[in-house]
């Protein structure tokens, strides 16, 4: 069937729409330009580099096909640094999520002086990670650090902390938790304030105890914030670098960081080592880019998994109402 010709009144309207769309596009251009220039292009270029060998000194990268990628599968250090990163996720990320929730539950109700405690807990978050790492390095000092001095008051020798492979990563996790606590707490508090007072009160009237009110009322209501923090903290954990460098570098070279006994060398630190410290056959930008892509893919997959599972435990308050309204 032939389309009806636009009426004389419709023609200027479609012209106006096109004009409007053009203006909108123009306003969007800076954002699109930014996305393409600062995300799209670097992603594409880094993918290209992962198929090349380049020490940055040669005028141009050399195309080597899949060699970096096949070497990644053979590189004995890759499983080790992946395992170290996973260790950090299980210690640092979990403790961050739990401790900041505890801090939020303790401080979210308006009480006298609570603002002071919130500010105090938030303060480490604004400090430089390197500065924090250096200070904690001293705190963990087994001979003169205050932590072991406090432990010794109980007649026990403290652990070797950063000098022992068993305790080095947990020590770093403790520091990152301490530093990130205020950020997580702030988001949890904002979320807790969004829970209508009537819900826990109704549960209380129905005979729910404090744990049941938290588990079945508060937690589901703040679950979108929990999901956000789980996703972002996991991404942060996979990118762990600064605290490791600040707390384990010896001899002034990042090439020597990641000890003791390779127990704190993370994927990003290894990527840096291959980029700048090592002089092996494939060391350079190409191999580092391949490692970066593995990390990016791992992050993407883990985020997707979390997203898929989130449907089972994340509750969006507006969703039910919307469904109801639609029925």
């Amino acid at each position: 069937m032939a389309e009806a010709a636009p009426s004389p009144a419709q023609a200027p309207r479609s012209r106006a729409r096109r004009r409007e769309a053009g203006t909108a596009l123009l306003f969007l251009l800076p954002q699109i330009f930014g996305l393409v220039a600062f995300i799209g292009v670097p992603l594409g270029v880094s993918l290209y580099y992962s198929f090349t060998h380049w020490d940055l000194v040669a005028p141009e990268p050399t195309w080597i096909g899949l060699e970096n990628w096949t070497h990644l599968l053979e590189d004995e250090r890759v499983p080790k640094v992946l395992w170290n990163t996973i260790k950090f996720i299980f210690t640092g990320t979990l403790s961050f999520l739990l401790m900041s929730l505890v801090a939020a539950l303790l401080t979210y109700r308006p009480r006298r002086g609570v603002a002071f405690y919130r500010a105090l807990l938030f303060l480490p978050y604004v400090l430089s990670q390197i500065a924090v790492g250096i200070v904690w390095r001293w705190m963990f000092n087994t001979e003169s650090g205050p932590i072991n001095a406090a432990i010794e008051l109980f007649g026990v020798d403290g652990p070797q902390w950063l000098l022992d492979p068993a305790t080095a990563m947990p020590a770093i996790a403790l520091v990152t938790t301490w530093q990130g606590l205020g950020y997580g707490m702030t988001l949890y508090i904002a979320s807790l304030h969004g829970v209508p007072e009537a819900l826990p009160e109704a549960a209380k009237i129905d005979g729910a105890n404090a744990w049941q009110r938290f588990r079945h009322v508060m937690l589901p209501m703040i679950s979108p914030t929990v999901l956000f923090l789980v996703v972002t903290s996991l991404i942060g954990a996979l990118q762990l670098f600064d605290p490791v460098v600040a707390m384990t570098t010896s001899g002034g070279s990042i090439g020597m960081a990641g000890g003791p006994d390779d127990s704190t060398r993370t994927v990003v630190l290894y990527m840096y080592n291959q980029m700048f410290n090592y002089n092996e056959r494939l060391s350079g930008l190409g191999y580092a880019a391949a490692i970066a892509w593995v990390l990016a893919l791992l992050t993407f997959v883990l985020t997707l998994i979390q997203w898929a599972f989130s449907k089972r435990w994340v509750f969006y308050a507006g969703e039910g109402a919307a469904k109801k309204g639609g029925q």
Binding site: L29, L56, E143, L163, G251, G255, M256, G259, N279, E280
Partner: protein, 447 residues
């Protein structure tokens, strides 16, 4: 619509500015010949000021050449040079060190200066032999740099502490042994009650004065390598530093000595104490009696504790004789600099006529090093010549050159990092910790 018409030229202009500024650069890699010579310098403020002061003579003699000093870690850290090269922002002239000189030369970063030296009559014999030798690339034996100066590891000691302990000062020429050093260190280590480390009442938890500090506590190669060499051991041996010496008996003996001084005698600064305050600062502050260090300590002492009464002696003998480490800083030109002629003029001046007083180093240009301007300079310790100049002629005076470019991996977590950690923390005896390390090193060398 009016808005969009105005926006289009603004957007285009902004894009053009962004593109132009993103691609522009000001240094040598821009590829254009210029009368401005860019010089990459690194170090603390005093180091950079000393270079600028030394370059004044060049500026007066060459008013047509403008010097531009770029403060960057390029030279101290090769990774920084690489990023500058990739960004086409590399300087015309840089200061390299023995630890990365060969890797830069191998990669084609440094210009070959051999023909220019011959043309201008700059002779090898004018410099301290072991120092100028390190400016020859291992790959072809040609010169890719000229020495700015060098550091020699010596023993720095606190004269007052020796006098108080009733000890004779160490012989300046190094005619004493590591056993003597260990004994003195125990006598010079004091707890809060004034007991020394030989006393049965000594409390190692309340030490107020340490006898000795060696950078083994970090660990950093200028600290422990001379001790290993004196005992007939080492990390990498052979002319091309491509052999593993870690399982030689001398290596374990030397490391055991350093471990025992930390954990058995309690006379040497431990890694934990080092983390809190570096041992060299403790020596400067008057809390350590002896330290192994280089001429830089003279500058630091003058700045931070001018009243410190100290002197220096050459390092002691081990079973193989006296050994020391020399670290050379060299002036070099970027191979792709469009200003190579001016770069060479500058390098020649700084390494010869303008030599001395650069970065607190000992000048390698003999005329300056052996003249009164250096040896009799105010603030220099009495035994400067015996402790810092003469050891450069020892058979076991070696540089930390790294012709294979493997040192970072060898010393890191894939190499001897874990073994060193076990030794410095006293977890394992040196021989046990070092067992099997050569298999790891051989793998690194092969890769």
């Amino acid at each position: 619509m009016r808005i969009s018409r105005r926006l289009i030229p603004i957007c285009l202009t902004m894009s053009a500015i962004t593109a132009v500024t993103a691609c522009s650069n000001t240094a040598a890699s821009s590829g254009e010949k210029s009368n401005t010579l860019t010089i990459a310098v690194w170090g603390v403020n005093e180091d950079i000021d000393s270079i600028k002061a030394a370059a004044k003579g060049f500026e007066q003699a060459n008013p047509d050449i403008k010097l531009k000093f770029n403060r960057t870690d390029c030279g101290a850290d090769y990774a920084v040079c690489k990023t500058l090269i990739a960004g086409r922002n590399m300087a015309d002239v840089l200061v390299t060190g023995t630890w990365n000189f060969n890797q830069m030369a191998n990669d084609g970063v440094l210009a070959d200066l051999t023909d220019r030296m011959a043309a201008d009559g700059v002779k090898e014999e004018d410099f301290v032999p072991v120092v100028i030798e390190s400016d020859k690339a291992a790959k072809d034996g040609r010169f890719y740099g000229l020495p700015m100066g060098y550091n020699v590891q010596s023993l720095f000691y606190n004269k007052e502490m020796f006098a108080k302990a009733g000890l004779k000062e160490p012989p300046a020429d190094g005619d004493y042994t590591y056993d003597d050093l260990r004994e003195w260190a125990r006598k010079l280590t004091l707890d809060a009650n004034g007991n020394n480390a030989d006393s049965p009442d000594f409390d190692p938890k309340k030490i107020v004065q340490w006898g000795y500090y060696n950078r083994f506590a970090i660990p950093s190669e200028p600290g422990y390598w001379p001790v290993l060499w004196a005992y007939g051991g080492g990390v990498l041996g052979g002319e091309k530093r491509d052999q593993c010496d870690l399982e030689k008996p001398g290596t374990a003996q030397a490391m055991q000595l350093l471990q025992d001084m930390m954990w058995k005698d309690h006379s040497s600064v431990t890694p934990q104490m080092e983390q809190e305050t570096p041992g060299y600062l403790r020596w400067i502050q008057g809390h350590v009696a002896m330290q192994q260090g280089s001429h830089e300590q003279v500058t630091i002492a003058a700045q931070q504790n001018p009243s410190l009464k100290y002197d220096m002696a050459a390092l002691p003998k081990g079973p193989e004789g006296n050994a020391t480490m020399i670290q050379v800083h060299s002036w070099a030109a970027y191979a792709k600099s469009p200003n190579l002629d001016n770069a060479w003029k500058f390098i020649k001046y700084m390494a010869t006529e303008g030599a001395g007083k650069q970065m607190g180093l000992i000048p390698a240009y003999k005329k300056v090093a052996e003249g009164p301007a250096f040896l009799k300079a105010p603030g220099e310790p009495e035994h400067l010549k015996e402790a810092q100049l003469d050891p450069a002629a020892w058979p076991l005076a070696r540089t930390n050159i790294d012709p294979q470019g493997v040192l970072a991996t060898v010393l890191g977590q894939d190499g001897i990092g874990p073994a060193l950690n076990d030794i410095i923390t006293g977890k394992k005896p040196a021989a046990e910790a070092l067992q099997g390390t050569c298999a790891k090193i051989d793998k690194i060398l092969a890769s």
